[in-house]
Symmetry: C2
């Protein structure tokens, strides 16, 4: 396994642990991720009292436009649809240590059929506490929408 | 990793795949299970349109009374409580290749504080198709209760 892959898992563990400590049910997918798998796992699945979020985890050194491959978006949407939940991208900006959550609906299609999340939009993403509030039903996603 | 551990994972994958093929959202826990982990993962989590099942996977060569350690039951219940779902034990009887699902409420406490599922009760467990029907809301668990 590559060094960046291992580092990716340690960020996933960090996120899973933070969300668990906020009282949510959290499960990470098995490490052996491959594009050709039969089952489509998100990186992390969060459930709270019947509400599900399927999450793709990304890291970046500092805030920039994020590119996501089409198969990863498809995977998230398929899982979220079956679960009856929402799909998010969680981005860790390693420099600040902060996690930002973006609903998948904020992604834009690129000319080659993949997806991107523009830097300006990413900067308006939900912080971890806001995301937890939404999962717990304390606040609504629409409160955060511009 | 021990041979029986590896075999256990292959049975988990078999179950996850079968349930996915029935249209449910399914996620397996990471392989690195240890009793001292901070997060409490069930072996498999299943979600369908807001309904969650946290599942502990067991295998046996032929139907017999099953013993389950207290920490595994605690783990399942904690996850199911946060998720707002149900907890089950899924048992594969390797000889027949069949999966049996039992709600955690069917477990009995042993004198040493662990749990058991009596052979006679296990034989009355839900088959995979019945379990899927319950998850999909087509049938109710009470229909199957003796």
């Amino acid at each position: 396994m590559s060094k960046s892959r291992i580092r990716g898992f340690s960020h996933e563990r960090d996120l899973a642990r933070k969300l668990w400590d906020h009282g949510l049910a959290v499960i990470r997918a098995p490490a052996s991720g491959s594009k050709t798998k039969h089952l489509l796992y998100p990186d992390i699945v969060i459930i709270y009292k019947g509400k599900t979020a399927a999450i793709e985890v990304k890291t970046m050194k500092k805030t920039r436009t994020l590119y996501i491959e089409a198969y990863q978006v498809k995977k998230l949407l398929e899982f979220a649809d079956r679960a009856g939940g929402e799909a998010y991208v969680a981005v860790k900006v390693v420099g600040t240590g902060e996690w930002i959550f973006m609903p998948i609906s904020k992604l834009e299609k690129t000319t080659n059929g993949n997806y991107k999340l523009k830097k300006e939009i990413l900067q308006e993403g939900l912080k971890l506490e806001a995301f937890v509030s939404i999962m717990k039903g304390v606040r609504k996603l629409t409160e955060f929408k511009s």
